[in-house]
Symmetry: C3
Subunit: 245 residues, 3 copies
Amino acid sequence: MFKAKIKSETLREVVDVISALVDEAKFNIKGDGISLRAVDPAHVAMLDLVLQKKGFEEYKAKECELGVDIDKLKEVLKLAGPSDIFSIEHDEDKNRLILDVGNITRKMALVDTAGMSDPKVPNLNLPAKLTVETNELKRGLRAAEAVSDHVALIASSESFEMVSEGDTDSVNLKLPKALLKDLDCKENQKSLFSLDYFSTMIKATGSANEVTLYLGTDYPINLEFDIASGNGHVKYLLAPRIESE
Amino acid sequence: MFKAKIKSETLREVVDVISALVDEAKFNIKGDGISLRAVDPAHVAMLDLVLQKKGFEEYKAKECELGVDIDKLKEVLKLAGPSDIFSIEHDEDKNRLILDVGNITRKMALVDTAGMSDPKVPNLNLPAKLTVETNELKRGLRAAEAVSDHVALIASSESFEMVSEGDTDSVNLKLPKALLKDLDCKENQKSLFSLDYFSTMIKATGSANEVTLYLGTDYPINLEFDIASGNGHVKYLLAPRIESE
Amino acid sequence: MFKAKIKSETLREVVDVISALVDEAKFNIKGDGISLRAVDPAHVAMLDLVLQKKGFEEYKAKECELGVDIDKLKEVLKLAGPSDIFSIEHDEDKNRLILDVGNITRKMALVDTAGMSDPKVPNLNLPAKLTVETNELKRGLRAAEAVSDHVALIASSESFEMVSEGDTDSVNLKLPKALLKDLDCKENQKSLFSLDYFSTMIKATGSANEVTLYLGTDYPINLEFDIASGNGHVKYLLAPRIESE
């Protein structure tokens, strides 16, 4: 059983975060909120999303799983302004979602969840932690896309750096400690990532003004931020690319 | 003879209404205003447009017919802001229109009207009549386009409904009597239409805030609205689609 | 040696002017400012650009030549708001430019200038001179593009006209003396130009509100305007098209 009301802007945050990695996803519904884990088709990135009951306007649920076509949710979001409220209900007989916004009702077939696994989030012990403004990252990534398809993320006790090296040109974003909200890094750390994946994740932060990065050396990055005014939390993991010499 | 001045926003309303159905059209010019009838190439929809002399800033005309390439009028409209005034004159010697806006003069060859018939508007006795906000219809149609290519319009004594059924999903816009400007329907009426045609007509209503629908069962719909601040009137007819069982 | 700071909006003016004709260009750097001459690949149009030291926020240079990929400068400009300042420095050891904006550093390989000639600007004695608002020209060119691919520019002692004749339609922009900032023309002059080239040049005037045209009969046009709040100057030359009878 699942019956809830949610602000369209909150639903949009959730949809943006998921659609960065997958087209279909399994929502795990519980009495205290929803959660979702997904791995992208190339098995390079993982998502762990939680949205608490408090992130909804109304919420009534018993444990169940809902397989959702994320593109259909995107369509429905186009019908609503940011302050509109969606009513969502699971029609168990016909295994579909019934969404109401304004005077419109959209009935949406659910996707079979049989083939969708629940990936385990690995327990990484990443030595560096820092919090950075998403706008700085977005601008740096826009610059990097012009010269390369990968990006090195580098943390030291004094700064965070993002470096992209192309054949002839390079881009460097350097944020000294004073421009970071938080920097906890004893030894230098450096890992290389796909620019495309990292950029897609940063764009999916939506209205989040800052993102916390957990970084090691030649290790996956863990990227976390809040959604739904702090009533939801997103964790992305992205595997490193190995530098070819 | 035809010589007139018209606000660019009024000309835009006229052009939008016509271009929903045809690329070329014959304007019937008379002393008291202009009128135009057209049938779309597939013979599914018909337009009956009237713009009175009062809808122009200046107007001087004797009876004549002008065959106009509507795409060329669209081009010319791009040169003007909403409050700019077009001067339009028929150059009979060279059978062309001379349009002036700002410091620009555009001379436009007319189209031969020999092959353009004057379709007769059928006299339909449609039992239901209702007036609805175009914004509600536009939102409902945007939702419907995601699931189907046809739409059922349903009137009862209590409400107006627009229903689109796809293979797995459906969209329903339901407007109770209280949300309608006007509802006159004794028995339930329901007809099915091409979503594409109906949507194109509703988009062509432009600045009209409301549209009046005349509806029967498995019958054409008649859709009417004003243009030019009430100095013009548009009537669209759209043939029904027959529901396959 | 070249080390300078420049407002992003000034750099954008320079880049827009150059990219109208070429993708790569040679900047001639001197102690009192920079200059650049270029001919488009089809040898139809020429550019002569000057930006004085005063057009920069800071400027320190010894004579040198820098071959620049203009598309790369466009990319970098996308990272900056209009009031952002770029720091630009020539790294002579690696023959590249180092551009800083915000916290981003972009290192950009320079292009070999060996094959880039310094075209000589011909000394034309054009009998008509007039100054016209760029907005009028832009609107007229938008109208002309709908009917033709060439445009006749005509000056008389009373007016400036821009005429485009298509197979069936024509467009005419007529600006009487009262609408021109300046008109010095004793005998009528008329030359025909490629609409595409002329339009591209007028669009490249950017924030310049007016442009001065020097015109003859079947002669190239000389088109001049200021950039960088008067601290820079642009001269375009465009060869005429010969009217086929």
